[in-house]
């Protein structure tokens, strides 16, 4: 049965305990210190701040498999304001661009539907990196391989939920079986719509269904997600056909050239 997560961004408080839990369980390197010593300056100097609200990593990376995004929305009169949070990670797409692109079978799907990178097989060709329409999978210079969220592969195969879901104090990150999560998401969506709020589920259709899907109260783009993500391999057939046709064209051009000359030559011989 496929496991996944439902991220209800409306009840996220931006506490980042999911980021911390993820780093701890998966043994990922800590972020660089936010303050450093500078010679000649008697007090610690602030560096390594993103300058983007409370965001401390800026994006997903090889050592940040979860990233809490802070979106400050203030209207032009500066009267109405809204602070949106969204905890982002790998979506474990049902049609995963990274998995499709991998030439070594380093990226595989397990029996629970999650997509994982087998570190001992990855050669670091980096083809999966631009093949992910969500910009999730990342290269590590340290290991020479790519890394991303595994949906806590070790935990979920031993009857536990993901570390981030376990740590989430508001229930914004729910781990479970995808159909159950979808029922929960639909109910929550109906509840919000009943209150007249603008809300939408992101991840039912995208890439044949995301195992990790979201409830948003604004456009996906606001949350840093592509509005219309395309699994890039779906262009493969058309690209291949056009290239093959071009090859045929070149072949014909060459043939015509040769034929012309050959015929010319034969006439020359005859005369």
């Amino acid at each position: 049965m496929a496991k996944g997560m439902f991220i209800d961004t409306t009840i996220c408080t931006g506490c980042k305990s999911c980021q911390v839990a993820c780093k701890q369980w998966n043994g990922l390197a800590a972020e660089p210190a936010h303050f450093g010593k500078r010679s000649g300056v008697p007090y610690p100097v602030a560096d390594n701040f993103t300058g983007d609200s409370y965001d401390n990593t800026g994006s997903l990376s090889a050592t940040d498999w979860r990233h809490v995004r802070f979106i400050e929305q203030i209207d032009e009169q500066r009267r109405e304001k809204r602070w949106l949070f969204s905890s982002d990670s790998c979506k474990h797409c049902s049609d995963a661009g990274c998995l499709n692109a991998c030439p070594t079978k380093a990226i595989v799907r397990t029996d629970l539907g999650n997509v994982v990178v087998q570190q001992e097989t990855c050669i670091g060709c980096k083809f999966c990196i631009p093949s992910c329409p969500y910009g999730v999978i990342s290269f590590s210079e340290e290991t020479g391989t790519v890394h991303k969220c595994t949906l806590c592969n070790d935990r979920i195969h031993n009857g536990l939920g993901t570390a981030c879901a376990k740590a989430c104090p508001t229930g914004s990150i729910r781990f479970g079986e995808v159909p159950d999560l979808r029922r929960r998401a639909d109910a929550r969506l109906a509840q919000l719509k009943g209150k007249g709020e603008k809300a939408q589920i992101y991840g039912y259709e995208e890439a044949d269904g995301l195992k990790v899907f979201y409830l948003f109260t604004d456009r996906p783009g606001v949350y840093g997600q592509p509005e219309q993500p395309v699994v890039p391999q779906r262009r493969l057939v058309l690209c291949s056909l056009v290239t093959i046709l071009t090859a045929l064209g070149i072949g014909v051009a060459a043939l015509v050239n040769f034929r012309e000359r050959l015929n010319g030559k034969e006439e020359h011989h005859e005369s």
Binding site: N100, P103, K105, C125, P226, V230, L241, R261, L262
Partner: protein, 300 residues
């Protein structure tokens, strides 16, 4: 549209774009040689011989940048054998996987053609090879090799098109076609350079090669134009500084337009050897700059 947060693979241009160029040139040259081998009279062998002498040494260079750009170069063999199962692995959805296998096939064909010509030219003697030498297998691997060569020249463009990077995605499905045409053109230039270097006067054969190349270069210009229209605003980088020089001046003006003009002019007036040499070098440099530009325009 994909957002800007689709990550950059950070393929080093000096490895990957150079590989695109070298492999494309080798494949283009081999294909032209094979066409002569397959369709021309038996007496005319200068171009196909030059093609074989160009294709294989160029292809020998290919594994170096490809392996050097890997995060774990020592594991390059995982491209062929799944290390956890010990069985051969091919992923038909991944141009990189299929490309690796076809490189092997193409490498085998170029090696056979190379040896074949060395034996025919009596540079080496290889009794076993000579004994079983006849025209039929030569045509067979010329055919297989030129099909594999087409693949090698074109798949690198398809590989870029089937990613989610905005510029590479927007130029779908034309990158493969452009790389293919460019590979054939640089291949022809490499053959011509080889003939100049070895001071082989192939007269009629070179004229044929030239007229073929003119058609290629015109279609290359057309393809670039359509590709840029498709790319739209994702091609903005191409009008900023390094690309203005590298792409427009280098690849398009000096690499295609100027040599094409020269080819048409030299059809009427005969220039000496030196300008010929220069315009072939321009074509080759233009092909390299084209690959670097299109790779980097999707990465920066």
């Amino acid at each position: 549209m994909s957002p800007d947060n689709v990550q950059v693979p950070e393929w080093a241009w000096y490895y990957i774009a150079v590989y695109f160029f070298v492999a494309g040139t080798s494949a283009g040259a081999y294909f032209i040689g094979a066409m002569e081998e397959l369709f021309s009279s038996a007496k005319e062998r200068e171009v196909s011989r030059a093609a074989c002498y160009v294709a294989f040494p160029l292809l020998l260079l290919v594994p170096i940048p490809l392996i050097a750009d890997l995060g774990r170069p020592g594991r390059f063999w995982h491209l062929f054998i799944y290390n956890q199962g010990g069985y051969p692995y091919l992923n038909l959805q991944s141009p990189m996987s299929v490309g690796s296998w076809v490189l092997l096939v193409f490498g085998g064909c170029t090696l056979l053609s190379f040896l074949d010509n060395l034996v025919a030219d009596r540079v080496i003697s290889f009794p076993l090879f000579s004994r079983y030498y006849n025209r039929i297998p030569r045509k067979l691997y010329a055919l297989v090799g030129s099909l594999a060569g087409f693949f090698i020249a074109g798949y690198t463009g398809v590989l870029l098109n089937v990613t989610a990077r905005p510029f590479w995605a927007a130029t779908s499905p034309l990158m493969g076609a452009l790389f293919l045409v460019s590979g054939a053109s640089t291949g022809a230039a490499a053959i011509s350079l080889y003939l100049i270097w070895r001071q082989r006067n192939a007269g009629e054969e070179v004229a044929r090669l030239e007229s073929f190349d003119r058609a290629l270069m015109i279609s290359e210009l057309l393809l670039i134009a359509v590709l840029l229209v498709l790319a739209g605003h994702t091609a903005q980088l191409l009008v900023t500084l390094p690309f203005l020089v590298m792409f427009w001046l280098g690849a398009v003006a000096l690499g295609i337009a100027a040599p094409l003009w020269f080819k048409y002019r030299s059809r009427r007036q005969h220039f000496g050897g030196a300008p010929h040499l220069a315009h072939y070098l321009c074509i080759l440099a233009g092909g390299l700059l084209l690959r670097i530009s299109l790779l980097q325009a999707g990465q920066l």
